[in-house]
């Protein structure tokens, strides 16, 4: 069985070597005359503005976390909603417990001031 996969392994090996070889060769052979314009990051012709490592408010972190939580809530609730009749009351109770736990989290976040921007 393993013999059958040998050509694939060969192709992987040859393509990896080929890629490394081309990059290495061009790196060794090419002449280097750096100018400030050439050293600039390529931004599709735009002249880059400022640093990429811009600082942004840590408040966005909280927004992102809240987004993930409620995003996941949707991920779990939509399959339940689709099969609601088949799952019956036990499914409804389970989904309600899930929503109640998340609501407790929301209450905590709200009271803690996580939803106030300033």
């Amino acid at each position: 069985m393993s013999d059958a996969y040998l050509p694939i392994l060969l192709i992987f090996g040859v393509s990896a070597l080929n890629a490394v070889f081309m990059v290495a060769l061009s790196h060794i052979l090419n002449p280097r005359r750096p100018t400030p314009q050439k050293a600039m990051p390529y931004e599709s012709g735009m002249i880059p503005l400022g640093d990429t490592r811009a600082r942004f408010s840590v408040k966005f972190y909280l927004v992102a976390i809240s987004f993930i939580v409620f995003d996941l809530e949707a991920v779990f609730l939509i399959p339940w909603a689709v099969e609601m009749r088949a799952l019956g009351w036990s499914g409804f109770v389970a989904a309600s417990i899930f929503v109640a736990v998340l609501t407790a989290g929301l209450v905590y976040e709200w009271k803690k001031g996580g939803l106030d921007w300033d």
């Binding site: 736990v101 407790a104 989290g105 209450v107 905590y108 709200w110 009271k111 803690k112």
Partner: protein, 480 residues
């Protein structure tokens, strides 16, 4: 019996953080948070006393609430209560929000309870992640200090990496056996219709890596000293006891009764891990001057001893593991409790030199600390001795002579650094009265009661282990 009523202890443990979260959002009070978490941990205990005798049905397929799981849930929630009491005094000295600490603590214990009762890879992983994610927060709780942040990030990254190993291992085992249910897995493995495939052994190996990280056994121990040192001392106590105990409970259940150890390769990998942990733990502990780092290495060595009993896959082996774990819980909680209670606002009592001459100022405290260290070293009349005795017996009964001899040799090495701390306490007090730690902080009543209780238990189980042992026999007996 209604299968859902068997779940009550776990449901109560899960409700505790939820109630705590709602209470915190409306009324912030450190005292109230402590009371709620104590009640939340005590309620399942009270219920366990009633249900322990009745054989609970397995809640297929995720959880199995048998006497074994209930015993461990009781042990873990008791230990959490001790940590809660210790944390109260500790957090009173700390600026910032204190109540969330208990939220994370109770949540972590909930994860541990799921872990000990899990009967499926899904519940295993869920329990482990609930535990780990809460621990990230707990380890880095004092987020304004550099060391806490460092250890938090270290723990986060390494725990995430080990969870990846664990998941991959689970996937490999599933690919080979076609099931993630432990009961089904056990019957497939017990049938032994064929040689174990490479896939299966690779999967077991990866699961061992994931479990070994939580247990901090060599070679997955790198995080332990730094995290132990940087984390708040009550959290260190929690990491040493509850978090490791839950993982040991799981390993024991499936290592011995799941047929995992019937494979020679798995058993020999665990044996190598055990020997390395015993020796590296004890040898590196010799070099430490910081008590928390020293205890981290000592914990690595102790988990090595425990693994010897796990490998001795016999009935005595599982009794030995459980007894050893209980003794280790009592001892570790006691030592970390004393470290916490001796620390004050200015300085944490975590250097060995801080304990110089402690006996002449605080004879009772240093007496208790000496007893705890004797127990860790395995000196007779302490619970640690009885535990080690059972581990050795289990090893001898299973003819693991090499492991038993190595265990004894490494314990002798360990004796040295435990005695070094004890000697330091009985030296004359330092000349310089302005030494950083005056250790004059008076213990609060709950702290004193808990520490005294732990000391009494330590001696009691060392002299008269029969009641504990029969409880353990009843609990472990429900496994097979």
């Amino acid at each position: 019996m209604n299968p859902f009523s068997a779940l009550t202890p776990i449901v109560l443990l899960g409700l505790t953080p939820l109630v705590l979260m709602l209470v915190i959002s409306f009324h912030r009070s450190h005292r109230l948070a402590v009371v709620i978490s104590l009640v939340g941990m005590a309620l399942p205990l009270a219920l366990l006393a009633g249900t322990a005798t009745s054989a609970a049905p397995p809640l297929a397929p995720l959880l199995i609430i048998d006497g074994y799981a209930l015993f461990y849930i009781g042990l873990l929630s008791t230990a959490t209560m001790v940590v809660v009491v210790l944390s109260y005094g500790f957090l009173e000295r700390v600026p910032g929000n204190r109540e969330e600490f208990y939220l994370l603590l109770t949540l972590a214990t909930f994860g541990c309870a799921v872990l000990t009762a899990s009967n499926h890879f899904i519940s295993f992983f869920l329990g482990l992640e609930i535990l780990s994610v809460s621990l990230y927060g707990l380890v880095a709780y004092l987020r304004t200090t550099r060391t806490a942040l460092e250890s938090g990030i270290k723990y986060l990254i390494l725990a995430a990496a080990s969870a990846a190993f664990l998941l991959f291992g689970m996937a490999l085992i599933y690919a080979d056996l076609g099931t993630m249910d432990f009961t089904a897995m056990t019957s497939v493995l017990a049938a032994k219709t064929r040689e174990p495939s490479v896939l299966l052994l690779g999967g077991f190996g990866m699961v061992i890596i994931g479990a070994g990280f939580k247990l901090a056994v060599v070679p997955f121990h790198m995080w332990a000293p730094d995290v132990y040192q940087g984390a708040p001392t009550p959290v260190t106590a929690y990491l040493t006891t509850v978090s490791k105990g839950a993982m040991v409970a799981l390993l024991l259940r499936y290592g011995q009764y799941g047929g995992l150890l019937d494979y020679d390769s798995v058993a020999s990998v665990l044996a190598v891990i055990a020997v390395l942990s015993m020796f590296l733990g004890n040898l590196l502990a010799l070099l430490q001057d910081n008590l928390k780092r020293l205890l981290a290495y000592s914990s690595i060595a102790h988990l090595g001893y425990l693994l010897v009993a796990v490998i001795a896959a016999s009935r005595e082996g599982s009794h030995a593991v459980t007894f050893y774990l209980v003794a280790y819980f009592i001892t570790s909680l006691g030592i970390f409790g004393i470290i916490t209670a001796l620390s004050d606002e200015r300085k944490e009592a975590d250097e060995i030199s801080d304990y110089r001459g402690l006996f002449w100022r605080r004879p009772w405290v240093s007496g208790a600390l000496s007893l705890m260290l004797f127990s860790l070293a395995g000196i007779p009349l302490t619970a640690g001795f009885v535990g080690k005795f059972y581990v050795l017996t289990a090893g001898v009964l299973s003819d693991l002579w090499a492991l038993v001899i190595l265990l004894v040799v490494s314990s002798v090495i360990g004796l040295y650094y435990y005695l070094r701390i004890i000697i330091t306490m009985y030296l004359s007090a330092p000349e310089d009265p302005s030494s950083p730690l005056s250790a004059t902080r008076r213990f609060s009543l709950p702290e004193g009661l808990v520490l005294a209780g732990l000391t009494v238990l330590l001696i009691w189980f060392g002299i008269y282990p029969a009641p504990l042992l029969s409880a353990i026999q009843a609990a472990v007996g429900s496994l097979a």
